[in-house]
Structures are given as structure tokens and as C-alpha cells.
């Protein structure tokens, strides 16, 4: 409870500082393209009925993509990390593909998969996949050999070693990569939604921009920021729960 209270207080302080800075910047520039926080927030509340379905659509896309990307990358990455032979075959491929900015495939995906949810989810899943793959592989490589030997001496099968040692030992690194990946995922989501389609927060923002409705545009930006904060915090809470042993003894 104390931890939560402190966290909330911290967020509140940060929000106040950011709003003040925003108000100051808006006043200094004095352009309609940068409305102040008061009108933006008022619009956000006013337009809530229109905005929340867009939040739901965007949120569902990004969550689905992250779940799919992670679910595919974790088993493969852990396996590559534990199997030198598989790794020797796959590593050159991974290191060739990893640095390619996957977002450049957006046009290809749009042509092949249409303008709906699929190309957006596939693109984000692809990005998350490579980030988690490399992290999981490195984490599995760094698993202390003593832990593996001790579990094997108890008669552990290959699956037991993954279940009792490799997976729990790699979870902290995987969660860190996921949290950092949230930012990239939402950025790519914005790009994908703003280029193609007729719904989602990206579309909402660009549509408001086209109508020169700057307060609505900023309401959309606020919604996108909220989506990011909620996702990040949810992952943080999930991580704390899944790796609660790490807090022990501190």
C-alpha cells in the first residue's frame, strides 16, 4: 500500500510538472497548433465517447501483437541459448535480420494483408519478436551452470531444466525487454494506424490533424500517452509478481 501510494504521488507530481511546462510552452509559442493543456484535457473529456473505442482498438492491437511476438520468441530464444548447435545455425540469420528496421515492411504488409488489424498486429509482433528473441537467447546463455547441474543431479529431464531453471532465470531479462519494447510498439502502432485504416488512436490523431482540429488532436495524443503508461505499468506489475523472489532479502 505504501509503495502504491508513493508511486501514485510520484506520478501526480510528474503530471503537474509536465502540464505546467506544456502550458508555458503553449503560451510562449502562441500558435493554434499547440493548444494549452486546459483545452486539450477538456476536449479529451468531452470527446470521451468517441475516444475510448479508439483506445480499445489500439490497445487490443498492441497487446495482441506483444503476446504473439513474445509467445513465439521466448521458447525459440531460450532454446537457441541452451543449444549451441541450434544457435550456431540460427545466429547468423538472427544477426542479419535483427538490425533491419522492421517498420520498412509496413507497405509490403499493407499490400499483402489489407488495411485491417492483421498488418498492424503482424508488424508489431515482428518487432517485439526480434527484441525478445535476442534477449531470451542471451538470458538463457547466462543461466548459472551450477543451477543446471544441481537440478540435473536430481534426475531432471530436459523439460524440467527449462521449467525449474532456464525459464525462471530468464524471466527478469525478458520482462525488461518487454517493458522497453512497449514504447517502440506504440510508436509503430501510431505509424501503422495513421498510414492505413479508419480506426485506432493513430487514425484519430491524424484525422483531427487533417480537420485542423488541434484540441482533438491533442486529446488523441493524451489517449496514446495513457495507453503507454497503462501498458508499461501493467507489465511492471506482472514482472513484480512473476519475479517476486528478487525482492526477497533486499
Amino acid at each position: 500500500m505504501r509503495g502504491w501510494g508513493r508511486k501514485l504521488l510520484g506520478y501526480l507530481g510528474a503530471v503537474v510538472v509536465l502540464l505546467l511546462a506544456w502550458a508555458a510552452l503553449s503560451a510562449a509559442i502562441g500558435s493554434p497548433a499547440l493548444p494549452g493543456p486546459v483545452i486539450a484535457i477538456a476536449t479529451f473529456i468531452e470527446q470521451w465517447a468517441e475516444i475510448w473505442p479508439q483506445i480499445a482498438i489500439s490497445g487490443a492491437r498492441v497487446v495482441a501483437a506483444m503476446v504473439i511476438g513474445t509467445a513465439l520468441a521466448v521458447p525459440l530464444g531460450l532454446w537457441l541459448g541452451r543449444s549451441p548447435r541450434a544457435d550456431a545455425m540460427a545466429a547468423p540469420m538472427i544477426f542479419l535480420l535483427y538490425p533491419i528496421p522492421k517498420v520498412v515492411f509496413l507497405p509490403v504488409l499493407l499490400v499483402l494483408l489489407g488495411l485491417g488489424n492483421t498488418p498492424k498486429i503482424v508488424l508489431i509482433a515482428l518487432i517485439v519478436f526480434f527484441q525478445i528473441l535476442v534477449t531470451a537467447r542471451d538470458a538463457a546463455k547466462a543461466v548459472p551452470e551450477g543451477s543446471v547441474v544441481s537440478v540435473r543431479s536430481l534426475g531432471a529431464s530436459r523439460i524440467d531444466v527449462y521449467r525449474h531453471v532456464v525459464v525462471p532465470a530468464s524471466l527478469p531479462d525478458i520482462f525488461t525487454a518487454l517493458r522497453i519494447g512497449t514504447g517502440t510498439a506504440i510508436a509503430v502502432l501510431f505509424l501503422a494506424e495513421s498510414i492505413a485504416g479508419t480506426n485506432g488512436l493513430g487514425y484519430y490523431i491524424v484525422d483531427a490533424w487533417g480537420r485542423i482540429d488541434y484540441p482533438a488532436m491533442f486529446a488523441g495524443i493524451i489517449a496514446m500517452a495513457l495507453l503507454g503508461v497503462v501498458l508499461y505499468e501493467a507489465l511492471d506489475a506482472l514482472e513484480t509478481w512473476a519475479t517476486r523472489w528478487r525482492v526477497a532479502g533486499r
Binding site: 537440478v151 543431479s153 536430481l154 534426475g155 524440467d160 525449474h164 525462471p168
Partner: protein, 260 residues
């Protein structure tokens, strides 16, 4: 029939540019219920010997037998306790103690009961829900012992299990080890680099020499386990004798052997 038997066992590790002969035609038999201590300089193949006995390595030539049959993988009744205790930081004390049982597919209710009674045996029952990071070094060591106890192992292999502890804790844990062995009567192989520990916990002390590892001497120590053994004349004499043997091996300085 010997509980654990090395029959002309050799082990060679193949490196990328050279191979290392860790054990050379090792001959050693440990009787059922016998506590044996193995001592020797680093590189004498002590750890290799334990990994072979635990079925985690296969010998290059010769045989390793437990209870008369050749070891071909980890065995149900064998417990291996490593220097770093082999505890999993992400599992609670109880889950760590129960890990061997869980891997062997023991049902949850029995699992819980056996883990708790093993923890009681080493004085850790109050910490069942804690994580290893919350325990002191001595308590972690006790937990590693509890895992072996929970398994009901008849062969306990230990690789320098107390080397991370300070001198006082070490003696306390040596008493715990001795108590467990007296209570359970399992066959025990303890690898150590402490002369005193070897004499306190080994009814026979096997001295190994390095490169390639082989048995260079065996010291019988029949008084081991008797009441107050640590302060008897016999204990001191055996320590001195062992020290002399190790000095001849060039492991300890010759000056340490002669009393001033």
C-alpha cells in the same frame, strides 16, 4: 557389495587444442553406510569423481558402479550437494527442499509433508516460505542438506559443501552433517580441502594426487563419529598424519608439519 565403486575409472576431458586427463585408472570402493572423505589439491579430479558417481558424466574408460550396477545417469537415491549449494533463488525454501521429489513426480501432499519434515530436521521449518536470498550462508547450507534428506538418499555426494562458511559456522555445520549421517546411516562421500574436516567426517580419508588424478594414500580413521572426537588425542594424531602425507605430496608446506 560396495555401495559405490570405481573400477579402473579414467576420465579425459577433450579440449579444443589439448585433452586433460582428470582421473587415471581410479580404484576406490565405498562400503554401504560408510562415510568417506576425499582430500587433495585442486586439479586432482575430486569434483570429476563426484560427477561420475552422480551419473552426470560418463567415464572415458573403466566403470563406476552404485549398488553393484553401472551408473548410466542420475539415480533416484543419490543426492549431490555442490559448493554453491545448488539452490534456486526463485523457489521458496520449501520448494527448494522439495525440488528433488517434485522432479521425481511425488504427489503434492506427500511432497509438502516430506519437505517440511526435512526442514524440521535441519532447523529451518520456520523459514519454509522465505527465499534463499533471505537466509544466511549457514542456513542455505542446511537447506541444501534438507533437499538430500527429503530425497531419502542412500548415497550422499558432497563437493566442498562448507567451504563458503566461516570457521565457527563450519564446525556447527560439520556437527549437523555428522548428526544426519548417524541418524540416517547413508553412504557418504565428502570432497573437502580441509584436513580437519576430512578427519572429523571421514571414517576413511582418501588422499588424491593431481594430474592425472589418482588415489595416493588412504588413512583409516576408526574413531570418527565418537563422542567429542574433535578434542581427542586420536583426532589430533590423525590430522597430523594426514598433514604429513599431504606435505610429502607437496600440497602443504613441509614447515607446517613439524611442531615448533
Amino acid at each position: 557389495m560396495a555401495a559405490l565403486e570405481f573400477d579402473s575409472t579414467s576420465m579425459t576431458y577433450e579440449g579444443s587444442d589439448r585433452s586433460v586427463r582428470a582421473l587415471d585408472a581410479l580404484e576406490l570402493a565405498v562400503d554401504v553406510g560408510e562415510p568417506v572423505a576425499i582430500i587433495g589439491p585442486s586439479g586432482c579430479g575430486k569434483s570429476t569423481l563426484l560427477l561420475l558417481a552422480a551419473g552426470l558424466l560418463a567415464p572415458t574408460s573403466g566403470a563406476v558402479r552404485v549398488g553393484g550396477s553401472a551408473v548410466d545417469g542420475p539415480r533416484r537415491g543419490t543426492a549431490l550437494i555442490l559448493q554453491d549449494f545448488g539452490l534456486l533463488p526463485w523457489k521458496t525454501v520449501e520448494a527448494n527442499a522439495a525440488l528433488g521429489l517434485k522432479i521425481r513426480g511425488v504427489a503434492a501432499a506427500e511432497l509438502h509433508q516430506r519437505a517440511i519434515s526435512a526442514l524440521e530436521g535441519v532447523g529451518l521449518a520456520d523459514f519454509a516460505r522465505a527465499y534463499p536470498a533471505e537466509l544466511s550462508g549457514g542456513m542455505r547450507q542446511r537447506l541444501a542438506l534438507a533437499r538430500a534428506v527429503a530425497l531419502d538418499a542412500d548415497l550422499v555426494l558432497m563437493d566442498e559443501p562448507l567451504s563458503a562458511l566461516d570457521a565457527l559456522k563450519r564446525e556447527e555445520l560439520q556437527d549437523v552433517l555428522l548428526g544426519l549421517w548417524k541418524l540416517r546411516g547413508h553412504t557418504q562421500v565428502l570432497v573437502t580441502h580441509s584436513i580437519e574436516e576430512a578427519v572429523f567426517l571421514g571414517r576413511r580419508v582418501v588422499v588424491m594426487s593431481p594430474r592425472p588424478g589418482k588415489v595416493s594414500a588412504v588413512v583409516d580413521n576408526p574413531g570418527m563419529g565418537s563422542e567429542g572426537y574433535r578434542v581427542t588425542e586420536e583426532y589430533f594424531e590423525t590430522v597430523k598424519r594426514l598433514r604429513r602425507i599431504l606435505a610429502e605430496e607437496g600440497v602443504v608446506a613441509a614447515a607446517d608439519v613439524v611442531a615448533p
